[in-house]
Assembly symmetry: C2
């Protein structure tokens, strides 16, 4: 109840020992184990007393009487906020990640997919990467290609190298030549703009310039703009969802099912990730702190990545609440930074 207990140094050390041990063994940890494995210079009995206090204040819990203790969500939270010392990556690991990411740089989607895979493999958790919404990106180039009489392929190249294709159904056939002119017109006026800003400014230009073109184009142009503006769904890359099956807490198939269903739904994922780190910093959400019931057994560590300081996407790791926070936080931070650098570099060239 109170919660206003004093968290003395010894209690902290014990909570840390319990958490560290549970993270690495996945077994409830008892007083004896702590006394043996972490030489805090105190006896199991003392540890027991302290653990009883910690349980009362909600930092630890017992799966059942007379099992060891495991950290509660509150315990993990305290661990993450105050106890854990972020374990920086070894030079070799940094070098390895660096090397992996620098390889096939020029296909951006491959880069992101690859990054996700890398994180997943290094953490044994599910890795998620959210790409920037089309609307938030800068338009670099538009191309229009006639597919047949009714359909035009619209290709949008946006910073920092994404390519989107859409098929637009047009009301009237348009010649390739005319289409090229339209594309030219669009490029001339829209290049460098952020996609979501396009409509307003375009409409102004449109009026002035429209007379030059066949009136048939009016509807087409409108459709193309609509196409650009709509379907502004983020894309989300997943990797390593299978790693979840390796975690002992998910040996029960009934626990896995809702989680996998959650991971399968683009929309909810996008939602969650979008909320997660859109406000700039690395963030850790633990267990029941999640809004979505399906992932109340999981923790998520997320960090934004960006171009020249502007956030363009979010990178996250999802795993059991018993995850190796110290390592994974460092990793996520490092990779997000590296990804930002890489994208910035690509964008500049």
């Amino acid at each position: 109840m109170s919660g206003a207990e004093i968290m003395n140094e010894r209690k902290k050390r014990i909570l840390q020992a319990v958490t560290d041990d549970y993270i690495s063994t996945a077994e409830p940890v008892g007083s004896r184990t702590i006394a043996r494995r972490y030489n805090l210079g105190i006896s199991p009995a003392t540890i027991r007393n302290e653990m009883a206090d910690l349980e009362e204040s909600g930092y630890l819990e017992q799966p059942h009487t007379s099992a060891g203790r495991i950290p509660s969500d509150k315990g993990y939270r305290f661990y993450v906020d105050s106890l854990m010392q972020a374990r920086p990556l070894s030079k070799e690991q940094q070098a390895r990640i660096y090397r992996e990411l620098k390889r096939r740089q020029h296909e951006i989607e491959a880069l992101i997919q690859h990054t996700a895979k890398l994180i997943a493999d290094l953490t044994s958790c599910a890795a998620l990467i959210l790409c920037p919404r089309l609307q938030d990106r800068v338009l670099k180039h538009i191309e229009l290609i006639p597919l047949n009489e009714e359909n035009v392929l619209v290709i949008l190249v946006t910073s920092p190298g994404f390519v989107e294709t859409r098929v637009v159904e047009i009301p009237h056939p348009i010649s390739a030549e005319e289409l090229r002119k339209v594309a030219e017109f669009l490029n001339a006026h829209l290049q460098g703009m952020i996609v979501s800003n396009i409509r307003v400014s375009l409409l102004k230009q449109l009026h002035l310039e429209l007379v030059r073109y066949n009136s048939l184009l009016e509807g087409t142009l409108d459709l193309i703009i609509k196409t650009i503006r709509k379907s502004g769904k983020e894309r989300v890359y997943r990797e390593g969802t299978m790693h979840i099956l390796e975690q002992p807490e998910f040996r029960d198939i009934e626990k896995v099912k809702p989680l996998f269903e959650f991971l399968g739904e683009d929309d909810t994922l996008i939602d969650i990730l979008g909320n997660a780190s859109s406000h700039g910093e690395l963030r850790v959400v633990i267990g029941k702190e999640h809004e979505m019931a399906e992932i109340r057994d999981c923790s998520m560590i997320s960090a934004p990545y960006g171009i020249r300081g502007n956030i363009v996407g979010i990178l996250a790791v999802l795993g059991p609440t018993r995850m190796d926070y110290a390592r994974i936080i460092s990793l996520v931070e490092f990779v997000a930074g590296l990804l930002s650098d890489t994208l910035t570099e690509i964008d500049a060239s």
Copy 2:
């Protein structure tokens, strides 16, 4: 051993009853159950005798003494080949599928993804669709877009409406204008060709025409051709892999793991599917008939789909050996046909 046993009418009826029942209940089925549920006009004792024979000839097996019988792979094979009456889809179901597939026709990737999802939902199995290799498709259009000084975006539109994008790193900067000429040249000479045929004919043309262009282009052109020709990986769409978790035979997580790992690997999937129905007909592979050990507990039903009779891809359903063959075979056949029609239609327009 013998196998040369006479499979009389009654044995067939019993095998069918066992199989039907096991498919719908997932429980070993005993003689009593059959006598009660399927009125074959014979008593449990007689059924027992026949079942013993069927077991000896390898069509049935017992999970343990004194459980009911379940069909062996050989039993399923016989069931599929000789007993099962393909259960045609109801008019409503056909209509529903038809309606679903006719919706957003013009984005072809979405169409295929959508088809996979539909099959997965209707079968409660995993649905897989293999797209044609780039190399086997007809080139409809090439577009080259400069991204920056070192990179060019190559866009390939191929029948029946696929769009592929690749980034090519070029040795020397090329102006947009020159690039446009190259694209024009390529379009003029390559349109309508099957991608895998491109190299030979191009080289001939190349020599004749090359003099017109800056010699710097030579290397670039070569790179572009290489890009087109390489990376001819099929793409495979998956849907409904989660449905597998619903099947009682996969309640054990240890059985799911290798299967999911298998489903996660593009390359092996492509391999399996490529072999499956490349020779034209609907095919059923049951349990241990599979080459890959990971799916020896599964059956796969696959059918090719194509454009104007030319196979361009393969559609498959993967589920437990205890799957509803009668229904799923009809479904796969129907959807493959419909997909073929749709693609043919799109290609023609």
